[in-house]
């Protein structure tokens, strides 16, 4: 089966469009680049609860999640001061 893959750079770009100060680390969980583990650090998460933080990242990645370039996503989310 042929799948369209997404590059770590593209993931980072989608997130930084929504959160310009975001630092993004992308890990490929399965070697197929559609099950990703992504760490995002941004000041935009300050004062937000974990559910809303995830929603912000999901929203930023809406396009590649809807078209199937990202099938599954494991997220770690922090603010720059480690909260």
């Amino acid at each position: 089966m042929l799948r369209t893959m997404i590059s770590p750079d593209a993931v980072t770009q989608y997130i930084q469009q929504a959160m310009p100060d975001a630092k993004v680390w992308v890990t490929d969980k399965t070697g197929t680049m559609d099950h990703l583990s992504v760490k995002v650090v941004s000041s935009a998460f300050a004062g937000k609860n974990p559910l809303d933080r995830h929603r912000m990242v999901y929203q930023a990645l809406d396009a590649p999640m809807k078209d199937g370039r990202i099938h599954a996503l494991e997220l770690t989310i922090e603010t720059p001061d480690g909260q």
């Binding site: 099950h35 974990p50 559910l51 995830h54 929603r55 999901y58 999640m65 599954a72 997220l75």
Partner: protein
């Protein structure tokens, strides 16, 4: 007019102390994250229910909209939405999950 799918979801959420909407069943999980979530709850020993929404795209869509959350699994504890293990693992590490489960099961 009430949406019958929404009614069904509300009924399920209130009927089970721990409810996982996922892909596949307890005996045959069809997604690594759904399986991981079951294994996560297995450690605690409380009963949980798994509802397979893979055969029901309309319900999946309703769930996504209701909770503003685009992925499966979706976990509910005591009627409250908790996202998935990305949220639950850090809660467990901080010692917040065990009291929540104890309270849910009246212990």
């Amino acid at each position: 007019m009430a949406d019958p799918i929404e009614d069904e979801i509300k009924r399920e959420v209130s009927a089970h102390k721990i409810l996982i909407y996922g892909k596949g069943t307890k005996t045959m999980p069809m997604c690594g994250f759904t399986r991981e979530t079951m294994q996560f709850f297995d450690k605690y020993g409380y009963p949980y229910e798994v509802v397979d929404v893979l055969p029901n795209p309309a319900k999946r869509e309703t769930l996504n909209k209701l909770y503003n959350w685009p992925t499966l699994p979706k976990v509910f504890i005591d009627g409250q939405f908790y996202g998935d293990t990305d949220i639950l693992e850090p809660m467990a590490k901080k010692g917040e999950l065990e009291p929540l489960l104890k309270k849910a099961f009246g212990k």
